[in-house]
Amino acid sequence: MTSEADFAEHYRNNYRRVLGLCRQLLGRLQSAEDAAQEVFLRAHRSLSSYDRTRPFEGWILTIASNYCIDVVRRRRKEAQLFGTEGEERIAAEADDSDVLGDLLAQERAAELKAAIASLPERYRLPLVLAYYRDASYDEVAANLGITRTHAGALICRAKQALRRALTAANESRESNAESRSLNKETA
């Protein structure tokens, strides 16, 4: 059995990771601090099931994603939280917006974070699982109870949505800048 001191050490080492995951997965649904607390409580209760040969971080992040997905599912009662695979695939094929790369270069992390936070849950959850937790598509699919391709389509759609959001923000900023300079000229 892992001792209390060990657990406290794990807590200190992993709290930020867990908190971050909860924040990304839950968005505004529930306080991420509360969720992280709950995750560690659950972990502590089931310490006996923790396989010490494997990294603690992976184990606690699994508990955290299961907990958060549970919370999201409970709050959102729609039968198909993640849409259908067919719809999402077709939508993913249809959209071929620019890649975020250049936009990201423009030091717009804050805008992108806000855009991630306001993504619909069906896109945010798989994206965060894949890119924050480094979960494979198979793991994401298993976590969310959908197929692998469905998970891939949702992640693809998530990125497309982010690009659109950033492009829109970009355009409005440019037009603002233009109108400001026009104003200056007229003045």
């Binding site: 406290a8 709290y15 560690f40 659950r42 502590h44 993913a92 990201l104 924050y132 693809c156 990125k159």
Partner: protein, 543 residues
């Protein structure tokens, strides 16, 4: 040869290294010849790196590692168990002391009163805490002892060092010595048909008799508990009589008090050493009955023809008194009638619906004053005036303080309840329904457990759990309300602050005129449902 460009989905999956091998090979073949796609894939990979870096970046301002909240472990559970036991014993003795001083009519003032939920609850709580307690004490003590022993045994093996074993053994011995050993012995008579104690038969212990019909013609030296469809008692009982049934007929002599409930309760030709508490649709205390202490009778119709040694308190649609009451009569009813040769040695206070509804026939005597009060609706004057009394506010502050301390203890022991909440209206209705079922089911379980002897400890336990649940329900709701009050981007303050704020709101809400009692019931049921939901989620869900 140039193949068709891969779809955005295929490119995205490929950039993530997740495209199935066959598709990936085809895509790579295409990349050889398509500059645009190569650029796209490169950009997608850069995007992946950038997104991962961004997501991994948790703002430093919010990452201070909080104090490690340890969940309730074996030690905590043991401490909590001991604490609850001590608190329970303390509360019980305090209650007993208070019960001596406070007239039984004022028991509704108790902080455990869940908003006059059911009068049934009242009589049952009274039964358990007052006279019934004396009889049940031995069982409770036995159960407490067993729990303590189990806890200590568990504690010693689970988390104490081996050499502490001696200390544990010592404390067990001390506890066994300190706790009074069960002094009451039980005798049980149970049958599907008729259960009887024949005339001339003597029973030295407390007797619990259950059956279709119960007839007691012999002598019982302890207490008598009798539950059946028809209960007939004609013998002599030295202790108390606690009885319930469709038809209850009691005569003979009883040294202690009589608690009788049934559809029809008839007390005839009898001497009662202490008090009579009775409730039923038709309650009759016939002439020839002598009660040394007080009599309390409630029902649809109450007839008192016998003699009451001290006070008579009665509540019924129709109250008819022909007997003799040495001191005062307090009556609540649609109509109250005193017929000859009724005699009231002290005062008569009659709460009746209309001026003409108090009738004192010629030949009936009231030596003291007659105070006639016309009740205005079900909640009458008491509701209006209580806000003007200082004691009301003092009481509420005491209540707030007690609930706050109890809440702190609860939230400290069960950190998960600090964040218990209700997702939406639907979940609220569901929790309320669960609360309602729990509020009704537990006493039923307790009652069934009590009459099927195996379960007297179980019955007592259910009632204790139930009372605690009712008490903690509003606290849980208060904590939720408190958290809603303090919602801010910086997070929520310490749970003591949210609890206190929530409790103030709840106590004000449940004391609102006219609707406060309804709010109280609603909040209690909601909280009870939340607790049950929480507990079931905790125990049922796997990670």
């Amino acid at each position: 040869m140039t193949t068709r460009c891969p779809s955005p989905l295929a490119r995205s999956m490929y950039a993530d290294g997740e495209l199935p091998a066959a598709d990936a090979a085809a895509l790579e073949a295409h990349l050889e010849s398509c500059v645009a796609c190569r650029a796209r894939i490169g950009a997608l990979r850069a995007e992946r790196v950038a997104l991962r870096a961004l997501l991994a970046d948790v703002e430093p301002a919010e990452v201070a590692v909080p104090r490690l909240e340890r969940p309730l472990g074996a030690r905590g559970l043991a401490l909590l168990g001991l604490g609850a036991l001590a608190a329970g014993l303390f509360a019980a003795s305090l209650w007993n002391a208070l019960a001596e001083a406070v007239p039984s009519e004022l028991h509704w003032l108790s902080p455990l009163d869940p908003g006059a939920l059911l009068s049934l609850l009242f009589s049952f709580a009274l039964f358990l805490t007052n006279e019934g307690f004396a009889m049940l004490t031995s069982t409770v003590e036995l159960a407490a002892l067993a729990v303590l022993l189990a806890l200590l045994a568990y504690a010693s093996t689970a988390f104490l060092k081996p050499r502490a074993g001696a200390a544990v053994l010592l404390s067990v011995v001390l506890l066994v010595a300190a706790l009074p050993l069960p002094s009451h012995a039980f005798e049980l008579r149970k049958s599907d048909g008729a259960t009887a104690v024949a005339a001339g038969e003597k029973i030295d212990d407390t007797l619990l008799a259950v059956g279709q019909t119960v007839s007691i013609d012999g002598d019982v030296n302890g207490d008598l508990l009798a539950f059946a469809r028809v209960v007939t008692i004609r013998g002599h009982v030295a202790g108390d009589v606690i009885t319930g049934g469709e038809t209850v007929e009691v005569q003979g002599t009883v040294g202690g008090s009589v608690y009788a409930a049934g559809r029809g309760v008839t007390i005839k030709q009898m001497r009662i050493g202490r008090n009579l508490y009775t409730a039923g649709r038709d309650v009759a205390v016939e002439s020839g009955v002598e009660i040394s202490g007080n009599a309390t009778a409630a029902g649809s119709s109450v007839n008192v023809d016998g003699k009451v040694g001290i006070d008579l308190t009665t509540a019924a649609d129709a109250v008819v008194i022909r007997g003799e009451v040495t001191r005062n009569v307090m009556g609540f009813g649609q109509t109250i009638t005193l017929l000859a040769p009724a005699t009231v040695g002290g005062n008569l206070v009659a709460h009746v619906a209309a001026n003409d509804n108090l009738q004192i026939a010629t030949g009936a005597t009231v030596r003291g004053n007659v105070d006639k009060q016309i009740t205005q609706g079900p909640r009458g004057q008491r509701t209006v005036s209580r806000y003007l009394t200082g004691s009301f506010y003092t009481w509420q502050i005491v209540r707030l303080g007690a609930a706050f301390l109890a809440g702190l203890l609860l939230l400290w022991a069960v950190p998960g309840l600090r964040t218990a909440t209700i997702a939406d209206a639907g979940a609220g209705v569901k929790d309320g329904a669960i609360g309602l079922v729990t509020a009704i089911a537990l006493p039923v379980v307790a009652f069934i457990a009590c009459i099927t002897v195996v379960g007297i400890p179980l019955g007592v336990l259910s009632v204790v759990v139930w009372l605690f649940g009712l008490y903690f329900a509003k606290i849980v709701v208060a904590q939720m309300i408190g958290r809603r009050l303090f919602v801010s981007p910086q997070g929520v303050p310490h749970y003591a602050a949210t609890l206190l704020a929530g409790l103030v709101v709840v106590i004000i809400a449940i004391n609102l005129p006219w609707i406060g009692w309804l709010i109280g019931i609603a909040l209690t049921l909601l909280g009870l449902g939340m607790i049950v939901t929480y507990v079931s989620e905790r125990s049922g869900r796997t990670l």
